[in-house]
């Protein structure tokens, strides 16, 4: 099962429910009116309206005391008819289950999983038959032995009888569930060997969004396909630029866990698939394929990455992503010129890609609200608008097959404005859009999923210490110089402070050797006059920012690390790597000729574990909702048919909702391939396959396909009437796999589904019982 379910769309669910409930109400009322007129002639209209009025009166005159009386009656009935004997069966199961479940040789998480699965399954399947039988038999039996007659000749509304029955049976089911749940929890703690008990936990995952970077550095939705029929996972090639990139929106302090030393860590748990093209040594097979995480913060990638979707625009996109904004300005100018002189060289998808990229870039740059960007954000937005206009004109031209030329001038002019802005604000843009990449140590991924190594948990400390690249180092040192300048910690008069290197090493957490080298370089620049002292501050002589000045020095290899480990610096995971609440984690495959396969749920951030009892309780809540829904359905059906028929209907609803609901949706949406029922029957009879089709006249084909369409309508109606029972089982699957049950994605949807069925069922069952002759012969 996929534990990364998408958030439940409450708005869509509510809209669908309202539409269906409205349609159902109209259909029911129309049907009732037609039946009433058919049986009573013109008098039927009056009977219908008075019946409706009487039903509405019943709705507003419901008495809680009467409902409570009937609830109480149901409870007594269940107890005195020994429905609670189910506890005995449960006790017997638990007494002997230990013989078959406990295997101390299994891994702890497997032992926990097996025990929890057994327990939740036993609870569900023991209570299920009891509540099904009680719910479908209660009212028909009352009617059969006529005890209901004595009740309905009292002022009890039939709606109250239904409500009382449902409530009473619901309390019986929940009581059974709670007792079994509590006893079961105690049994779990006793039955699972003490050595494995630590695995009795609920992991709390934070899932991200996944995209890929191809071997030539371009973003893509999917990675490589290594030939698997099952295309669930996409692969990245080893020792290339290919990456799988997870972005975790909503990343904040709560995603961190506290380790044994009391420090904050980020836990990354992954379960990748390893794919080899060469066998390698036995040791290598045991060890697995090497992979590496890189935590990166790259606003330039986010802003300009989408421009690279079109191949013609890649040089421009690369220049922007690399921070070479002057180069990018030249490319933009060239693009504008090309648009003027040879507009047809660019394909429609290039225009679309460019316009999309400009829109994203404009929006993100605007969002950053950085004054040093000048009018670049506005220029991007203006270009995006002009691009949109041009695309509309080109599309219209294609549709009308007009020969009239479309002017590209306006769009080209806006691109020129972007180019001018980029050139003018190149330094400001580079400074305002820092790229930081923190590579983490390598880890191994085994190709065997049942091996312990297949699950990999990496603890990333909140304070990251890593070897900085040129840009990151230049930014780091520039920030120190700026801050220390302001604090007066750099200068002593017109020269550098004595002992500056030691202060740097201790406060900025860089190595003593590198600190000394940095001070030495500053002194050299001071002596050479490229750096001056003015207003008691150290300043770059040509007016450039410290970042640009230091960047040039580093790229000119004047600030080479003296430490064999390189320029080790520290960054804060929250402040520096995810300042906007987005964390970006890139995964690379290190080994040549090897591949790593991954899907969205394969990597997640593990938040602090939730107590097992909490996750277990949520699973029980979902089971209880399932039982309650079955009771509601059983009682509703039993209001109109006899016990055995009600049992058949309720079981059908449950089995279809449990095992075929998804299939129905897939069939209706066309995902599930196949002909209609009648067409398949004809094909079977004619020994023909779907590709060649039926060997019948066109009229017969139309009839058969029309009949299939009609059946499809029935299937549609059925898929909307039958509850999706799988929604109630998901919580159990989470706990069985040692995950916490997400409230919004799993528990609340189950509650919503339950209430979505409860209200119509109450109204329908009340009406069915009210307008039913209890003594009909």
């Amino acid at each position: 099962m996929d534990f990364d379910i998408r958030p439940y769309d409450f708005a869509l669910a509510t809209r669908s429910w309202l539409m269906l409930a409205g349609a159902l109400t109209v259909i029911c009322l129309a049907l009732a009116l037609v039946l009433s007129v058919a049986r009573n002639g013109a008098r039927g209209i009056g009977i219908f309206t008075s019946g409706l009025k009487s039903y509405l009166d019943d709705l507003v005159s419901i008495s809680p005391r009467r409902i409570l009386a009937l609830t109480n009656l149901t409870l007594k009935e269940a107890i005195r008819r020994k429905a609670l004997l189910v506890f005995v069966a449960f006790a017997v199961l638990l007494m002997f289950a230990g013989w078959f479940l406990t295997d101390a040789n299994e891994r702890p998480e497997l032992q926990v999983s097996v025990h929890v699965t057994f327990l939740l399954t036993a609870i569900s399947w023991l209570i299920l038959p009891a509540v099904i039988f009680l719910s479908v038999w209660a009212l028909p039996e009352d009617i059969r032995i006529r005890s209901l007659h004595t009740v309905v000749t009292k002022p009890a509304r039939r709606l109250e009888i239904v409500l009382g029955r449902m409530t009473g049976l619901g309390i019986v089911a929940i009581t059974m569930l709670v007792v079994m749940g509590v006893v079961g929890l105690g049994w779990l703690y006793r039955a699972i060997p003490s050595t494995s008990r630590s695995a009795l936990e609920c992991r709390v995952p934070l899932f991200g969004e996944l995209f890929f970077i191809t071997a030539d550095g371009q973003p893509a939705d999917k990675g490589l396909n290594v030939g698997d029929v099952w295309a669930y996972r996409s692969h990245i090639a080893g020792n290339t630029r290919a990456r799988a990139v997870w972005v975790f929106p909503g990343f904040n302090e709560s995603a961190l866990t506290t380790n044994e030393q009391g420090e904050k860590d980020l836990l990354l748990e992954c379960r990748f698939e390893a794919f080899r093209t060469i066998k390698g040594s036995e040791a290598s097979i045991k060890k697995g394929i090497e992979a590496q995480y890189t935590i990166s913060h790259n606003p330039r990638e986010e802003a300009f990455g989408s421009l690279s979707q079109s191949e013609s625009l890649r040089p421009l996109a690369d220049a922007l992503r690399d921070g070479q904004f002057r180069n990018a300005a030249d490319r933009m100018k060239e693009l504008a010129q090309r648009m003027r002189t040879a507009p047809d060289e660019l394909r429609p998808q290039d225009y679309a890609g460019l316009q999309f990229g400009l829109t994203i870039a404009g929006a993100l740059l605007k969002e950053m609200k950085n004054d040093s960007f000048g009018d670049v954000p506005d220029a991007f937005i203006a270009a995006s608008t002009a691009g949109q206009d041009l695309i509309i004109q080109l599309r219209r031209k294609a549709e009308t097959q007009s020969r009239e030329a479309v002017s590209h001038e306006e769009f080209a002019a806006t691109l020129d404005r972007v180019a001018a802005g980029l050139a003018e604000n190149a330094d400001g843009l580079l400074e305002g859009m820092p790229r930081t990449e923190v590579p983490l140590p390598h880890f191994h991924v085994s190709e065997y999923h049942d091996g312990e190594e297949s699950i990999n948990v990496t603890a990333v400390p909140q304070t990251l210490r890593f070897v900085a690249d040129y840009e990151t180092l230049a930014r780091f040192l520039a920030r120190i110089v700026d801050e220390w300048n302001a604090q007066g910690k750099l200068l002593d008069g017109s020269s550098l402070k004595p002992g500056l290197a030691e202060t740097l090493a201790s406060e900025a957490k860089i190595s003593q050797l590198n600190a000394e080298r940095f001070v030495e370089v500053l002194q050299e620049q001071l002596t050479a006059g490229t750096v001056q002292v003015a207003d008691n501050q150290l300043k770059v002589a040509n007016g450039k920012t410290w970042f640009i000045f230091l960047d040039e020095l580093i790229r000119g290899e004047k600030l080479v690390s003296q430490d064999p480990q390189g320029w080790m610096i520290e960054k804060d995971l929250m402040k520096d790597m995810a300042p906007n609440g987005y964390l970006r984690v890139e995964v690379a495959c290190v080994n040549d000729q090897m591949y790593l396969g991954m899907a969205r749920p394969d990597l997640f951030i593990r938040k602090a574990n939730q107590s097992f009892a909490v996750g277990y309780s949520k699973a029980l809540i979902n089971i209880s909702l399932m039982l309650l829904l079955i009771i509601v359905l059983g009682v509703t059906v039993s209001c109109i048919v006899k016990g055995p028929v009600a049992l058949f209907f309720t079981l059908t609803f449950f089995l279809v909702g449990q095992f075929f609901h998804e299939f129905m949706l897939r069939k209706l949406s066309g995902v599930e391939q196949g002909m209609g029922t009648f067409e398949s029957a004809v094909l079977l009879a004619q020994h023909r396959n779907p590709q060649v089709g039926m060997d019948v006249s066109e009229t017969a084909q139309a009839v058969v396909k029309g009949a299939d369409k009609g059946l499809e309508g029935v299937l549609w109606a059925f898929s909307n009437i039958v509850p999706d029972f799988t929604i109630f089982n998901r919580a159990s699957a989470y706990v069985e796999n040692r995950f916490d049950v997400p409230l919004m994605e799993c528990v609340i949807p189950a509650i919503v589904v339950f209430f979505g069925f409860l209200l119509p069922c109450i109204l329908i069952s009340g009406a069915l019982l009210k307008f039913r002759e209890l003594e009909s012969k």
Partner: protein
């Protein structure tokens, strides 16, 4: 007796099968009124439509045509049940409850408070004589006991109108007599009682008016004493006469040209005999009564 508690106009009921085809017409254009404070009997052989009529009055069945009003409200109006007590043909009660729980349950359905329910339950259990069995589940009750608790539940709300379907069915003669006494008592309290029964003697004993149904049609409707009065016969009842006195009376009658006069000693009915025997057995346990003693005690009673 002034205003009508039950008004039935042109009431018909046709039972149909699943396909809507007519199976049987149980009631045919029935019209009658039941007045406040009277004891009204619905008589008829099996299948005559009396129970169907009662069930339509209670809303258990819907009429095919016609109109009914009970206590001024349509039969389909549940709120009419506030003032109605119903004893079904067989006491259709929840057999897993005991007498206290049964009365408490039905009391709750009338929205009665706990204190009120307890008070009424005590009164009724005392009245129907189930004090010693009030904690036993109904499944352990005899038929007579079940009828008694059925009657108690029918009266839990102190109803204005009591509908009794075969009230004496399953009761022993003592129970029957008590039931009849109770009906008379209810009438004395100003309540209206409608009963349907096969026990004609019972009906005759307690009913003010009766309606006789046959094959769904109303055949007879009227006051019991008027309907049963034999206008062409005369009965004189006195203490035992000597043979001479009988001869003299016969002569007087012959003088008036009456030749078919019969003279005999009246007989007590079996119900009276049974009740006397049980009563006197209670007073003198272990004694067996001779025919002469029984006859003598019959003269005394």
């Amino acid at each position: 007796m002034s205003d009508a508690v039950i008004e039935i106009r042109n009431l018909s009921k046709i039972y149909r099968d699943f396909w809507g085809r007519k199976k049987v017409q149980a009631v045919k254009s029935l019209s009658l009124d039941v007045m406040k404070g009277e004891v009204f009997g619905l008589l008829g052989p099996n299948g005559s439509g009396k129970t169907t009529t009662m069930k339509m009055l209670l809303g258990l069945l819907f009429p095919t045509s016609g109109e009914m009003k009970i206590l001024g409200k349509p039969a389909s109006d549940v709120s009419k049940n506030e003032k109605i007590g119903y004893l079904p043909e067989e006491s259709y009660l929840y057999r897993f409850l005991n007498a206290d729980e049964t009365l408490d349950f039905y009391g709750r359905l009338f929205n009665m408070t706990a204190a009120e329910r307890n008070r009424r339950a005590d009164e009724l259990i005392e009245m129907v004589g189930l004090g010693k069995a009030r904690r036993r589940q109904l499944k352990e009750y005899s038929k007579g006991m079940t009828r008694r608790i059925g009657l108690a539940q029918a009266l839990i709300n102190d109803p204005d109108l009591v509908l009794l379907d075969e009230p004496t069915s399953g009761l022993d003669p003592i129970g029957t007599r008590e039931m009849k006494d109770l009906i008379v008592q209810l009438k004395a309290q100003g309540k209206t009682v409608v009963m349907c029964s096969h026990q004609l003697a019972d009906v005759q004993d307690v009913c003010d008016r009766i309606a006789v149904l046959f094959q769904g049609e109303l055949k007879v409707l009227g006051r019991v004493d008027e309907l049963l009065e034999m206008r062409n016969e005369m009965q004189i009842r006195t203490s035992a006469l000597s043979d001479e006195a009988v001869a003299d009376i016969r002569k007087v009658l012959e003088k008036h040209n009456i030749k078919d006069a019969e003279f005999s000693r009246p007989r007590a009915d079996l119900e009276q005999l049974f009740l006397r025997t049980v009563r006197e057995s209670g007073e003198r346990p272990g004694r067996r009564f001779s025919t002469e003693e029984v006859a003598a005690s019959g003269r005394k009673s």
